[in-house]
Amino acid sequence: MDGAAPLFRMEGISKRYGGVRALEKAELVVEAGSIHAILGENGAGKSTLIKVMAGVVAPDEGRMTLDGREATFASPGAANKAGIVCIFQELSLVPELSVADNIVISDPPKRFGMIDRKAQRRIAEEALARAGAADIHPLALVKDLPLSRRQMVEIAKALARKPRILILDEATSALTAADVSKIFAVLKRLRSEGLALLYISHRMNEIAELADQCTVFRNGRNVASYAAGSKSDNEVVELMIGREYSHIFPPKPAAVPATAAPRLEARKLSWADRLHDISLTVRAGEVVGLGGLDGQGQRELLLAFFGVLRGLSGQILIDGKSVSITSPSVARDDGIGMALIPEDRKTEGLMLPMTVRENLSFAALDRLSKAGIIDRAAEQRLIDDMVGLLAIKTAGLDIPVGALSGGNQQKVVIAKWLMRQPRIILLNDPTRGIDVGTKQELYQLMRKLADAGAAILFYSTDYDELIGCCDRVLVLYDGAVKRELVGAEITERALISSALNIHGEESPVGLGASA
């Protein structure tokens, strides 16, 4: 070795969550005085990597060295003490406390054993000024601030801890262009002060402007490291994809004619600052995909259709008629016939301690009962049909649904909605965390339902699925539809480049959010 050990090094780091491997012998070298960008698709292992660095999760194997000495962090507090500070994607601010309280939270200034509020205020004001956010009042409560201001507080909080290694995980995702340029100036100054910065972003233009060094992650491994600017955007996308298809998808039928009347239509849907003028159509017999990076408004769009969001503007049409969907129970009613397979089956899809039978019939109880009394025979017939159709593997209908495997739980969630014979099916990343075999069954089921006349809107973070299952894909970016891909246009390259908003014929993207 050449004497000057790198500031921080990770070697052979592996981490598994259940059967899913998030990191597999990952390596990373971080040098002082440089900005290091980490790139990769959704689920490539970036988030797990920094969680390991920041002491949030412990790796299963591998070692980390700081200043050439072995380092292990039992908690985020321990990592902070060692000088590693992370700005997380999910904010780490305490909502009921003030901005100043939050900025000093891990090590408040003390006087006679109590928190010195004057000193605290001074530190907070300094940190806010350093982050270029002097407009935020230190006494304001965090919960009262809009998301973009919270993110600035998060950055100020990180700076107040005087880090040696600063990790920014999508830290600019909610910022305005003006804030982003302020933050960039701060980051460049920190680099010149000798800090090491680790920068995770999906915005290629930000990486081009900031980074000195880039590392690409794929399937939990670092697959390439290169000096920033030495590879074209296309080469980078190539590196991020590079994997073989492993799933078997059912063949797609001939496209539904574009002249067919849409079953579900949205016109200029907007909500808060998360959805902007979204218009789309889904026809009977069609599987339409929602693509894009995680968190670009896909979830909100599905919730909007399902009547969960208040203050929605724009129009929703079913079979050409404008409808007002004010709650999930309106959405599922026969006139509309909508079903939503939620993202988190454990909290939004199932009542885990209750039996398979109860979970299956919840959504359809009104159809199975007369005068409030459940027709047990009809219930049993329908349940038998569903268990057969989806091949749900269970030791019995009267065991808690929590005892089933993840894949079978997800089948129960889907079966529960199929019992109503929905005409419109919304799916929110339904294959997350389930095994490949069950995935295949779900793909085939989806196609079968579409062939039987359902309109399907399908959000997935897995590009393979979008390519293999969908007739059309709408790519969302920053709450708006950026691009529509039809038929053979749906390729991994097209999906990734439009998800990153670096599609050639679009106007060049400015800093931060699209103007």
Binding site: P76, E96, S98, N102, M114, V308, L309, G311
Partner: protein, 326 residues
Amino acid sequence: MKDWRYWLAEQRGTLLAFGIFIVMFVIYTSNHPAGFTANVVQTASNKGVLLAFVAMAQTLVVITAGIDLSVGMIFLLTNCLASWLVVGTPMQTTLGVIAVLAVGLLCGAINGAIVIYGRLQPIVATIATGAVYYGIGLLLRPFPGGSVNEDLADALTGRAFGVVPASLVVLLAVVLVIWVPFSRSVLGRAAYAAGSSETAAYMSGVPIRRGKFAAYTLAGLLAAIGGLFLTFFTYTGEAAYASGNSYTLFSIAAVVLGGVSLFGGKGSAIGAIFGALAFRTIGDLLFVFDFDPLWQPLFQGVILLVAVSLGAFALFRVRNRLEWFL
């Protein structure tokens, strides 16, 4: 400068409770046959401080997004214990007071340890420990009885300087010695942070466990101070099950009236004190207006409902309906 606005927003719950209390108390004294006299104030404050101490105890735990259903029983247990120990020479009395307070601390610490390290839900854990504390109290005093150092009792339930009720002075001292340092300490802030968002607090390296443990432990101490005062007023110890339960429930009511959020992370023990005093005044109001005392629970319930509804208006601002259930 807009600093005062932020201060006002932070103290809104406390100020509202203060306002409710003042209005009710003015109505009470102005309709009282004797009027606003030192005697009337003394009687009212002696009744009020008991609930105030228990409500302070409840506040500490509620701030961490927990709940302590054993406060009323710690209050009874320490009352029974005080009726044995707080007697005799000044020296013996002092040791007795220390012992009673130590038992309160211990009860609180046991609650904290079970909830934090045993990872049991606070509601279940404290129902169980509350039953145990009550059981010990019953063993100490199967029948009402015992005695207390009457000089001390009379001094602390009488008037300081002839006008100010001594019990209020003690309440103020407890606020200054326990609540103020706690709320401004790192542990206190950890308790608030854990109550508001435990994940964010953990991610920020906040000592969550120690903060919560301190909150539960100090809650035991405050309930014990309440128990001591109960002994000073009654000169006896009594393991009265119904009374312990109603103190527990009233303490939750007082905390809510005082603007402390049951979801945790928000509120002040000072608000809870005014909540407790206001809650007590409801009963007194019925008395001066010659209502049948049978009406008291009904009126307390109605006033509580009205006060709590004020806090529910925030739900109208929620735009994603899933957030109703968070």
